[in-house]
Amino acid sequence: MNAPAGSLLVAEDLRKAYGPTVALDGAGFSIHPGEIVAVMGPSGSGKSTLLHCLAGIVVPDSGTITYDGRELTAMSDAERSALRRGEFGFVFQFGQLVPELTCVENVALPLRLNGTPRREAERRARTWLERLEVDDLAGQRPGEVSGGQGQRVAVARALVTGPRVVFADEPTGALDSLNGERVMELLTEAARSANAAVVLVTHEPRVAAYSDREIVVRDGRSRDMERAV
């Protein structure tokens, strides 16, 4: 696959197996700054493994991943961790907020890990909670808020560091239609205004409809529908 010029994150010919199970079998991917790309496909097709490889969480067995001109696959664990903290944001299906921390502390956490003083981190966290329309929950713990509210807090946490890429793995999978829709609206609006690219793994067409284009993963291989048509 030849990546189009100006791509921020490019993967080529990725292969990854877990024991005898082949998860990726020559998958490719590319995304431009500020672009929202849906990764679709049936369960077990390899789409989550693709996301984990792109985000530097999982190292592929072979193939290359290039982020902003740097080869991700050649980086050390520490370098990839630093990249994830500084440049990437994450939203998962079940929020994965820290239950002992309040919502504002959860959102401020990535900034604190990067060395931002507490007061400044929480000020910025509150700004994001406001943008996600959940500033009234700042002092509450994740166990005290609804699923939809928790996901908004998770989106705020993903965007608080000003990431260039947000990885969202089934971000509305645990929500009803109305809440899921609102989370998608807020996520995509916030990402667009911050010019962050979004890699959106989903099997739901209504969620994928918030993307600019989609790639389909099947049996570990990907198909870029924009360039296929």
């Binding site: 209504r206 409809a209 989609e214 099947r218």
Partner: protein
């Protein structure tokens, strides 16, 4: 006039396209698939109106990006008048059809009631064009999965348009777009299921 005659009257002038993946359900303004006659009748229930007023109200509430033509309004009103479902409540000086003010009759009210109480046909789209394409592709050893992928992409393209319109629109826009979005989503579920069953389908349909 019967309900069927209203519907058929419109269908004859605006036949639906052959391809079953384009009409009614998938147009953003799917509400136009309904009977214009019944809708105009319903709008008259709140009080007599001129033809241009009916058109304006229809466009405001249901027309969106596909407003009614004046010709549609006046031909529909002539038909309703002929069938005794409306009557002319007054004519303003100057003559011409646009000067007539229409009022609904009791027969018209009954007709609207009957139409509202009659459920719409679910139309399950059995033997769809897409199914035929998939089977033909399998029979001729072509890329059936590719056909499904391309169709998914086309559906998603339409879903993006609707999602964007929904985001910018009012509640009425949102509900109309949601209706179309849910139908498209149902198609996509079928696409996924068919994609997952292509091997079985190939074995079943190929000699």
């Amino acid at each position: 006039m019967t309900i069927a005659r209203h519907l058929h009257g419109r269908t004859a002038r605006h036949p639906r396209p052959h391809s079953m993946y384009t009409p009614r359900v998938y147009t953003p303004c799917s509400v136009l698939g309904m009977s214009i006659g019944h809708t105009l009748l319903g709008l008259l229930e709140s009080g007599p109106r001129h033809g241009y007023d009916l058109k304006r109200t229809f466009d405001e509430k249901f027309g969106h990006d596909r407003p009614l033509h004046y010709g549609q309004v006046y031909s529909t009103m002539s038909r309703l008048l002929r069938d005794g479902l409306v009557e002319v409540d007054g004519i303003e000086p100057g003559g011409g059809p646009e000067r007539k003010r229409y009022a609904i009759t009791q027969a018209g009210v009954t007709d609207v009631e009957r139409w509202l109480a009659t459920p719409e046909k679910p139309e399950p789209y059995l033997q769809s064009t897409l199914y035929i394409k998939v089977v033909l592709a399998l029979l001729t050893r072509r890329d059936a999965a590719g056909i499904l992928d391309t169709q998914r992409s086309e559906h998603l393209r339409m879903m993006r348009v609707l999602t964007d319109r929904k985001r910018k629109g009012d509640l009425a826009d949102q509900l109309i777009c949601d209706h179309a979005l849910f139908h498209l989503e149902a198609d996509l579920r079928w696409l996924e299921l068919t994609a997952a069953r292509l091997d079985k389908l190939a074995a079943a349909v190929t000699p």
